[in-house]
Every structure is written in structure tokens, then in C-alpha cells.
Symmetry: C2
Subunit: 192 residues, 2 copies
DNA sequence: TTCATTTCTTAACTTAAGTGAACGAGTTGT
DNA sequence: ACAACTCGTTCACTTAAGTTAAGAAATGAA
């Protein structure tokens, strides 16, 4: 379990055994059941998440409707904006599968960053890389139609289509569930 | 001019005169004319931009059409994804006004980050903050209609509507120029 | 297993965005 | 001043997404 994390981290910085032990000295590994809510709207939080196995999603609730905006699966990290801005959360974070993840605290991170520049380098690289990915994602979203977005998802994250309910996928694609049904029908129609 | 930059930086870390001089020892301030292309599709680059005054935009070209995805104005920083991934750029960056900006090189940043942990802290905080902003932006985009997006823009970045051509705004909002015209007509219609 | 609830799909209708074409206003270059 | 462009808007038409409602399929709990 620790190895999944350290293998991932080794892509960014090389860690000594001592440094690994410092990380392990915090109690960051958690196993959470499907349906567990990790963060609620209105709540203040200092927790960041890194998914080792499973899937978590972020969603807003307005007009009695869930609006799912992101999924985080294996090897993906989420620091909710509210942790950065230190304001109450605008959204919910929940597990859509039994999930194994690390939960780290921003105070703890600040402390470790302070003592070990190497961790700060890791954090910087990770967030730079995530920002770059996010920008490209957003650009693709803006410049394509719902149908193209669905086809794009089929190509890039086919697992999501299997493991996530359609109504959550729909808002992730920026459309209503009924429209997603039609998009799917249209596509299978074309393919025969 | 330097002061604009240092005032901005002081929000994240406090700098000594010596550290400021190190920054100034690199030739980072540039004044560029409207229309200048800072980065072309297919080009490799190590440059990040920070806008002191003016406005730059990022856009893709496909099917002989420009697709504008972002604008960066005063106090906003852009590190194109290609700089992070070290691959040829997918898009163009150009100035839509006479612009005063800093251009920094990722090699130079790596060097300074290495010598002065404080700079690395600055970079980390900046990219964490930008990632959080970007996430919220993307979420808002996903969960709203073109009309709501336009109204949202009107509220949050009214200056853009004045300083940017409509056809660029349109793709920024994920629609065609003709649709933006209609959205605007619809809104002024409602307001009387 | 059965019943209740949730999720997905289909259909009919409404609303808005995409498309192609035309027009006028404003700009640029000669 | 004039021609050539660019840009924003409008129009008519097409296509797709939103909405409302109903029913089928899947899921979960008793």
C-alpha cells in the first residue's frame, strides 16, 4: 500500500528511507466505504486526497440537483479549492466506490515543506503538472460539443463510463442525463 | 514597473533586497506590441508569462478557425502546458493589446528554485492557487448555460467584454459568434 | 423473493445553439 | 477617397439540448 504511494512520488523526487518514514509517521492511509462523504458543502477543511484505489467525485447541490464536476481515480490527487482559500467548501466530495486513499492535512504539509525542501519540490511539481492537465482539459471541453466530449471521454477514460452512473457522467459532460442517453443512442446508431 | 511585480510577490513570500536583485539580474521585463505572437503552435518553449499591464490570449487553430480558450490580464500568470510537458505547443499565445509583461525561463526558475527555497515556495503557492481558481472556473463553466456564462463574465470580468473582440469572447464562452450576438440581444431585450 | 427506490431510456414538445448567407459599420491600406 | 477586409449582427433554417412525463430496467433493503 505504501509502495503505491512511494512509487508515485519517486516520479517527482527521490526519497530516502528516513523521509519515507516521516511520511509514514503521519496517519494518512484510509480505507473508505462506497457512499462515504469526505467533505460537505459549507464545511471548512484542510484535507487533501490522493486516490490509491477506487474513485471519488466532487459535486455541487443546487435546485435540489447534484452537479458532478470531477472524478478522481487511481493515482490522482485532489486539493479542494476551499483548502487553498480557507473558506467553507462550495461542494461535496464523496466516494463512489470502496476507496483506498491518503488524506493529508495542510498544516502537516506546511510543516513538512518547511523542514524538507524536497517535499516542497514535490508539491510544486505536482500542482504545476495538475494545472497544466486541467488547462488542457478545460480547453478541450470549451472547444467541443457534448457528443465530442463523450467520444473523447470514451477514448481517454473509458473506465469512467463503466464505473460511474450515467446521471453523474452527464453533468460531468455539461449536459442533462436525457441528453446523454440520446448522445449514446446516436453514436451506437452511427456505428452500425 | 519592478514594484508591480514585487508587490504581487510580497503577497506570497517576503523578499530581501538581495533576492529582488537576483530576480532583476535576469532580463525578464518586456514590452510587446498588440498583435505580437509570443508562442506558436508546434513550437517548443520554456517561457512563462506574467502580465503587468495589458492582455494576452491563448488560442488553438483548427479547421481554419481560431478557438480562444483563455485571457490573461493584469496580475495573472500563464505557464503554457507545453512548458511543463516539454512537448511542442498545441496552441498560440498572442497579445491583444500593447502589453507589459515578464517572461521567465523554466531553466532559470529551476536554478533559482534550487538556490532559494523561498522562490520555490512562491511558485508552489502560485500554482496551487491558480489550480484552485481554475477548478472553480471549470466547474462554473460545466454547470451553466452559455447565457449564464456570459452573465457571469459580465459580473466577474466586465473589463474583458470591453477590451476583447466578440468573436474571441464567443469561443471563450464555448459558443459561436452568432450565438453570442443572440445571447446579448436576448439579455438587453429582457432588461427593458 | 418481493417491493420500493433509483437510474436509465424513450417520446413529444420547447428552446437555444449551429449553419450559411447577407448586410452594414468600422478599419486598413493604397 | 475608395476598395478590400474584418467584425458584429440579423435572418431563415437545421440540429441538438432542455423540459416534462412516462415507463422499463437495475439496485437495494426487508
Amino acid at each position: 500500500m505504501e509502495n503505491i504511494l512511494f512509487d508515485f512520488m519517486s516520479k517527482y523526487v527521490s526519497l530516502t528511507e528516513e523521509e519515507k518514514n516521516i511520511i509514514l509517521s503521519f496517519d494518512i492511509f484510509h480505507s473508505v466505504k462506497k457512499g462515504t462523504i469526505l467533505l460537505k458543502e459549507g464545511q471548512k477543511s484542510k484535507s487533501s486526497y490522493f486516490v490509491l484505489k477506487g474513485c471519488i467525485r466532487t459535486y455541487y447541490v443546487s435546485d435540489n440537483e447534484e452537479k458532478t464536476t470531477a472524478f478522481y481515480t487511481e493515482m490522482e490527487a485532489l486539493t479542494p479549492p476551499c483548502v487553498i482559500t480557507q473558506t467553507p467548501s462550495e461542494y461535496y466530495v464523496s466516494c463512489i466506490e470502496d476507496t483506498l486513499l491518503t488524506i493529508s492535512n495542510s498544516d502537516m504539509e506546511a510543516e513538512v515543506n518547511d523542514k524538507f525542501p524536497k517535499f516542497e519540490t514535490l508539491c510544486r511539481k505536482l500542482s504545476e503538472e495538475n494545472l497544466a492537465k486541467q488547462q488542457i482539459n478545460f480547453d478541450e471541453f470549451k472547444t467541443s460539443s457534448p457528443e465530442q466530449r463523450y467520444l473523447n471521454l470514451l477514448e481517454k477514460r473509458p473506465d469512467l463510463i463503466q464505473r460511474v452512473p450515467q446521471y453523474q457522467l452527464a453533468s460531468y459532460l455539461g449536459i442533462k442525463p436525457e441528453s446523454l442517453s440520446r448522445v449514446r443512442a446516436r453514436i451506437t446508431e452511427k456505428n452500425k
